[in-house]
Every structure is written in C-alpha cells, then in structure tokens.
Symmetry: C2
Subunit: 224 residues, 2 copies
C-alpha cells in the first residue's frame, strides 16, 4: 500500500505541479495515456460538453472558455481511471466520473492562478437524487469537496481534506445548473484555508456556503 | 413543484412516522409497492446482503440482526426509486442506490429508538474512489449525511440538512467496511443537533467525526 500510494501521490503531484506548465496531460495525449488510462487508447477528458449538457451549462462553459483565451483562467481536464491502483481494485474509478453522460455529475472546473480561485460549473443528473426532485446533500458535498480540493491542490501540491463545514441554505433542484465558486483564503504552515459558495446559474440564488481546511502531505509518507 | 414536493414530503413523513408502527412499508409489500415503485412489482429492498458484501460486512449485519430480535434495534429498508417525482425526472433514483451490487454504496442502517441512535454498516465500492486506493471524501460525506439524516428524520419528521461539519482524520481504504455511529444530541425548537463518527469494522481506527444540524420542515410549505 505504501509504495502504490506514494507512486500515485507522486503522479498527482506531477500532474498538479505548475512549474513545468499547468496540467501537461491535458495537452499531451501520450502523457495523458501514461498517467491515467488502463487501455492503450487516449483517455477521454470528461470536462468537455456532451449532449446531456443543458443550454445553461453550455452557455456558462462558453463564457469561461472565452476567459481562458488570455491565460487568466484555465480549464482543468478530468479523467475517470487511474492505473495507479492495486490489481484487486482494477475496477476503481473516480467517484464523480462513474456515470453515463447526463445521469450523474456533469461538471467542469476552471482555475485562475492569479486569484487562487476555482469555479465549477455543475449539472447534477437524475441519479443524484435525495428528497424527490432535489439533489442529495452528499452529492453537493461531493462537488464542493472536488472544487475546493482542486483550489487547494494546485498551489498546495498533495493535500488531504481535513475539514469540510457546509451550510445548506436551499435545496438544489435535480438537473439544474449551479456555479461553485471557491477561493484560497490563507495558508498557515501546512494548512490551507478555503471558502466556497454554490449559486444558481444566474447567481441570484445562494444554495450553500462552505469552508474547507486542507493539509499538505509529505508524498513520501503512507496515507495509512 | 409545490404539490409534488408536498406530496412527496407527506409520504416521507408517513414512512418515517413511528406512531402506527415503524416503517410499515418494510413489512407490507403492497404498501411498499404503492409508495416506492414505478413498476407493478414488489420493489427491491437494498438494505439486505448481496453477493458483493464482504465477510466483515456480513458478520456485522448478522450481529445487528441479532440485536433486532428483542425490538431494541430495527433494520431500516432502503429503496432506489420514488414515483413521487415529476415526469421529466422519471429516471431519478436515490443517489446512494444508483450502482450495481458491490460497485458503489453497499450499506444498511439500523435504528435504536430508545437511544435515538443509528448505526450504518458501509462498504464503499471501487466506483467511489477519490485519491487512488481510497474513498472520495464526498462519498464519506454522503454516507454521513444519510446516517445522521435518518437519525434526525425518525424523531423529527420531515427534516432538511442545514449544516454538516466533518473532520476527516484518516482516509478510508476502498472496499473496506466501516461503521458509522450517529446519535441525536439535543432538540431546540425546530433544530435537531446530531453527532457522528466513522470507525473501522473492528472499531480500532477512527476515520472521521462529524456534527449535523437538521431543521424540521413544515410539510405544507414548498422546498423552493
């Protein structure tokens, strides 16, 4: 476990490292294949539009892609599989990418390095239901963790969620589009403090607010 | 939306009501069919062992089923679908029951009415991965929300998660079995305060601790 975890963490650190250019695997299919895929094909980047995306989600995506043109924002790629797991976990796949298009988590995360912010555009599909007609609180927590975690990992390297404190203000209708805004508030030693809010696509409704505490890990040490 | 939500909430309240006997749908297949299924067959109760359950999970399940014999504990049934959704959401299903056996959330929740406690036996499958080899923090948050939420809903009626504050102490290996213990600490007006911890099957490792605040809702009012 120690070795495989360390190797995985090294790879994650390399992926998230900014010095050699952000997210090189997003731009280099060969590198992407070496890092992520268990098959000898170019892995699918799931942070791109598919036919299940609503008009709202596509509009927001286009707006953010425009912001990427001057280099201030960057779209982060997202893959389902990692081959860096033990053999008995060969079925393992990223929790947020385990559904067919449109049924589960449809999302894309953008990052702004100068502002240390991430923005996640998220459409929660019908398989994420809690109370009938609304997203499960756990699905919201999952996307908050993913968005805040990415905002911590890019400047922080290998990090682990230590605390998530979420205020659920209003339930989110199933299949609607929300925008999750996260920012790095401060760093104290190995601790990274972040905050986050979840709003409707038109930003008029505040659905949730959250804070996150992440700890920088030593990639040479085992997680367990 | 108002009507369908209100109807759904009424049904949930009826399901969770204790006065006419706890969880009558668990014992009455006809009633269960009327409440949960979109098909004219008896709905599947997913809170029962299937071949994907590990030896640890089956052992714990058997222990808790024994505790149920004197009536102090009760196993809570769990269904995937509700027909109480709008037509366009006909694909909707409970987030935690959307996977094939063994791939996602395998769990059963037991309730102790005297102690106002729930215990969830949870085996997180390979589709719930975060960092390679470990459960995604969102998957843990999801099961904490489900366990604490059930502990609030049985005495509280219709409730909504207002706050979840989770301390992640150690990562949980994928496919391992954990025990989530939740208890109702106090009620103040419409507020229910709960706490929770997540431990390994042998209880030796503390993985997470959490608190939850839930608000009793008026089922006559719309959620949005």
């Amino acid at each position: 476990m120690l070795r495989s975890c360390t190797a995985a963490l090294r790879t994650l650190r390399a992926l998230r490292g900014r010095r050699e250019g952000a997210f090189p695997a997003a731009r280099d299919p060969v590198l992407a294949r070496r890092w992520f895929s268990t098959e000898k094909v170019i892995p699918k980047d799931h942070a791109l539009p598919n036919p299940s995306w609503s008009k709202d989600l596509r509009l927001l995506f286009d707006q953010f892609m425009k912001k990427c043109e001057d280099g201030s924002w960057e779209r982060l790629p997202s893959y389902k599989n990692s081959k860096l797991v033990k053999e008995q976990l060969s079925q393992a796949q990223l929790f947020t990418r385990g559904y067919e298009d449109g049924l589960g988590f449809e999302y894309v995360i953008f990052y702004n390095d100068d502002e240390k912010r991430t923005v996640c555009l998220f459409q929660g599909g019908p398989y994420l239901q809690g109370v009938p007609g609304f997203l499960h609180g756990g699905a919201i927590a999952t996307m908050i963790d993913a968005t805040v975690g990415m905002c911590a990992a890019i400047p922080g390297g290998i990090v682990m969620t230590a605390n998530l404190n979420i205020n659920f203000k209003r339930p989110i209708p199933l299949c609607s589009v929300v925008v999750i805004n996260s920012q790095l508030d401060k760093i104290e030693g190995r601790k990274l403090f972040l905050s986050c809010n979840v709003r409707s696509a038109d930003e008029k409704i505040l659905y949730s607010e959250a804070t996150g505490l992440f700890i920088k890990l030593d990639p040479e040490k085992s997680l367990i």
